[in-house]
């Protein structure tokens, strides 16, 4: 009898709990979107894209269609081809030291970020589990406290309140860790993958350039289709140089952005952890000054 009554009394807090969780997830998604849009806006070339302007300015519904099955299948095959090709292309040694260094760096970095991101996810989830346990302990103590109105029961009620507050704070710690640390790592996991893709495209064009050179030499030797071979070679050369230039710039930007993002998030993480820990100490001390 008494247990059902206490469970009903906890309903308003249950609704609050659901609200808090929703807000936490909402905050997270909003933050990711903001980072994405800022990135695009900061880029010298992408910011001029018409699609971007439409996205920012058009004040009615954009009606974006999701990818249909055919497009998804196309994507899937494209990915397969790309990864196979990537393996072949990565065997080619690069003349440029900068890019060679970047490639080794990126491959290692990407793997480590992946590992860190996974571990950080696990850690955040454990934190959430601990917060949930506090919740259950709080409600058990509440049930013990409502047995009668002796001193010990009042004590139990106070402790149950304290556990409630602690639980909320721990849940927020877990959510903030998720936001600042896990999301940061996840984002850089994808960014480093994108950087790797960029390097792949450049290597691809390098291979094409070298193949065009070989074809030109062959054509000159046979003295057949020389002009065609020359134009192909020229196009490839231009493409390669353009991509090399922009890739270099992009990779340098990537590094700057990465450092800045890590700094911002790590500072915010430390500040939030401090805030929560201080809050917990304050709550506990206030709750039991007389005991």
């Amino acid at each position: 009898m008494t247990t059902t009554l206490t469970e009903i009394k906890h309903l308003p807090t249950l609704a609050l709990l659901v609200c808090c969780e929703y807000l936490a997830i909402f905050k997270k998604t909003v933050a990711m979107h903001e980072v994405f849009l800022c990135r695009v806006a900061a880029h010298p070339i992408l910011r001029k894209d018409l699609n971007f302007h439409v996205f920012l300015e058009y004040n009615q519904d954009l009606s974006v269609r999701g990818k249909n099955k055919k497009e998804k299948l196309e994507d899937f095959f494209k990915n397969m081809v790309k990864s196979a090709d990537g393996v072949i292309v990565s065997g080619v040694k690069d003349v440029d030291d900068f890019f060679e260094h970047e490639r080794t760096f990126l491959v290692e970095y990407h793997n480590r970020v992946k590992d860190a991101s996974a571990k950080s996810d696990k850690m955040t989830r454990s934190h959430k589990n601990v917060a949930d346990d506090y919740n259950r302990i709080g409600s058990s103590l509440y049930a013990l406290g409502t047995q009668d109105s002796t001193d010990i029961c009042k004590f139990f009620l106070k402790v149950s309140e304290l556990f409630d507050k602690t639980r909320k704070i721990e849940a927020r710690v877990s959510a903030d860790e998720d936001l600042k640390l896990s999301d940061l790592l996840k984002y850089y996991l994808r960014e480093s993958q994108a950087a790797k893709d960029l390097l792949y495209r450049r290597s691809r064009s390098l291979v094409d350039y070298e193949n065009a050179n070989k074809a030109l030499d062959k054509a000159r030797a046979k003295n057949k289709d020389v002009l065609q071979a020359e134009t192909t070679q020229q196009i490839c050369c231009q493409k390669f140089e353009k991509i090399s230039e922009s890739a270099k710039q992009e990779l340098i930007d990537f590094k700057t952005r990465r450092v800045a993002a890590f700094r911002k998030n790590l500072v915010e993480l430390a500040e939030l952890e401090l805030k929560h820990a201080k809050l917990q100490v304050m709550c506990a001390v206030r709750k039991c000054p007389s005991d």
């Binding site: 590992d115 601990v130 049930a143 013990l144 047995q147 010990i152």
Partner: protein, 531 residues
């Protein structure tokens, strides 16, 4: 060597699995009353003990037992009434074939008269119930006047677990140190070496003497086959050291709780346990001894009787209290389960934090921006320290909070046992009254039939039963009075214990948070220094 140990381990497990079947057959017998199951039970029983056991005969086996409810102690508490009835019975099942020989014959029915070798246990109900209150009454009152409430100057520590012996004959010996200024002890400070079965023997003696007159005797820690076998086999890993530490702490709490009780403190057995350097081996705690079997049999009989006794409760206080204890029991179990989950999750959190710390360090290594690299390494260090913190907190969670809850759940079982004893006492009184009535009717009949010699006998019997009825009534009132006092004492102790423990636990939480503050404050400037 290792393989041989593993085989013995497995062998023991198989034997205990069979013992579980044995116990369930026994329960089936009690439930159905059919003799088929009974025979099945004995068959299993003989099968286990006879030729297949040259090995178990050599085992000291006191510390080996089955928790028939499974290796995890928490499972015992969460099972319903059925397991409760047999929890105490089955905990004493162990291997020791030589002792059990003479007793068993398939003809004896369980609800019964003591059989031969158990002369030690047989007279307990009759003689002790007369002697115990008489001997200790005076001194108990004296002590209570001397100390208001339970403030005795006695402090007990259990420490230095050491492994004695080798292989399957090994056991853990604990040092029990007592510091006191009470005059009933010979010295002010002394220590002895005791093993786990000694503690169980002490509890069994105290329970036999005091439970049936209404005193709440604190229960001893539980046997655990998994833990002990690991220790015997000689595994020096962290789980076996944890097990030994858990047991040591539990034994200390058990003794401290026992000496707080004013009446139990006076008991000569307790004094002998604390003082004398040589203690006779508590062989009666072994289940396959005659005493063990008899105990098991009696307990099963009691269980059935409890279900059939319908008591007219004249005193509402008792009914209320029983209901209260029932509620308390349920809620403590729920709380205990939540705290155990917390311990588990916090250990997980600690492991995950350690893994993340390593991963962050690797990431810092591969980062080529120097300031960021250094900051990431710092982050890794902070997380490692936090992992240590979490581990310590989990430790506190467990030893401070969770074990206390477990102790109280067992204590409440003891309280329920005491209430049951009161019911049995009442039943005895009622039975005596019924018999007296019958004897009076028989006498009346004999008067009409006019047989003078038989008449005299009938009159004698009536006198005898009248005294028995009076005694029964006195016993019942005595036990009711004792229980009231005991319950009052129990409630006060409970309040004190819970308050102290919860405050200690909260303080540990606060300390953890303060440490966290220090660590993050140290990290913040590093993070800000990333250029």
């Amino acid at each position: 060597m290792e393989i041989a140990d593993r085989i013995s381990f497995l062998y023991i497990f198989c034997l205990f699995a069979m013992k579980e079947c044995c116990n369930s057959c026994y329960m089936l017998h009690m439930a159905t009353g059919s003799s088929n199951f009974f025979l099945f039970f004995w068959f299993f029983f003989w099968k286990q003990s006879s030729p297949s056991s040259p090995e178990p005969a050599s085992l000291p086996a006191e510390d080996l037992s089955t928790n028939s409810n499974g290796p995890k102690p928490s499972e015992i508490m969460l099972d319903g009434d059925r397991e409760d009835l047999f929890a105490e019975a089955t905990e004493e099942v162990s291997l020791d074939s030589p002792e059990r020989d003479p007793i068993l014959s398939p003809e004896t029915t369980p609800a019964v008269t003591p059989v031969t070798p158990t002369a030690l246990i047989a007279p307990r109900m009759e003689s002790k119930s007369v002697t115990a209150p008489v001997i200790f009454d005076r001194s108990r009152e004296e002590i209570e006047e001397e100390a208001n409430g339970d403030l005795f100057d006695i402090e007990i520590n259990v420490s230095d677990p050491e492994k004695v012996g080798d292989g399957m004959n090994a056991y853990m010996a604990y040092r029990v140190t007592t510091k006191t200024s009470l005059s009933i002890f010979h010295k002010n400070e002394f220590s002895v070496k005791r093993r786990f079965s000694d503690f169980l023997g002490l509890h069994s003696k105290l329970a036999t003497k005091y439970m049936h007159i209404g005193y709440i005797v604190p229960p001893a820690p539980e046997k655990s086959i998994v833990g002990m076998t690991k220790v015997k086999v000689g595994k020096e890993d962290s789980s076996s050291t944890e097990f030994v530490e858990k047991r040591r702490a539990a034994l200390e709490r058990y003794l401290q709780r026992t000496v707080k009780h004013p009446t139990l403190l006076q008991d000569p057995d307790l004094r002998q346990f604390l003082e004398s350097s040589e203690l006779p081996r508590a062989v009666n705690t072994q289940a396959l001894s005659g005493a063990g079997i008899l105990r098991m049999v009696n307990k099963a009989a009691d269980a059935v009787n409890k279900m059939t006794i319908k008591m007219n409760e004249s005193d509402a206080w008792f009914e209320e209290k029983q209901q209260q204890f029932e509620n308390l029991d349920q809620q403590l179990r729920k709380l205990h389960a939540s705290v155990e989950a917390l311990v588990c999750h916090r250990k997980e959190l600690s492991a995950n934090t350690a893994a993340f710390a390593k991963s962050a360090a690797m990431l810092g290594n591969s980062e080529d921006h120097t300031a960021l690299s250094r900051a990431l390494s710092q982050l890794a260090e902070v997380e490692e320290k936090i992992d240590q913190l979490h581990q310590e907190q989990a430790f506190a969670d467990f030893y401070v909070f969770s074990e206390l809850l477990g102790d109280y759940i067992r204590l409440i079982a003891a309280v329920k046992g005491v209430f049951d004893h009161r019911m049995k006492c009442w039943q005895k009184w009622q039975d005596a009254q019924v018999t007296l009535q019958k004897k009076r009717e028989a006498e009346a009949k004999l008067q009409l039939a006019n047989k003078p010699d038989k008449l005299q006998q009938a009159k004698d019997e009536i006198k005898e039963w009248e005294t028995k009825v009076q005694q029964g009534e006195k016993d019942f009132e005595q036990i009711s009075k004792t229980i009231r006092k005991e319950v009052g004492r129990f409630e006060k102790e409970r309040v004190k214990d819970f308050k102290t423990v919860i405050i200690e636990y909260l303080e540990s939480l606060v300390q953890t948070q303060q440490q966290l503050i220090k660590y993050w404050e140290a990290f913040l400037p590093e993070a800000k220094a990333i250029a």
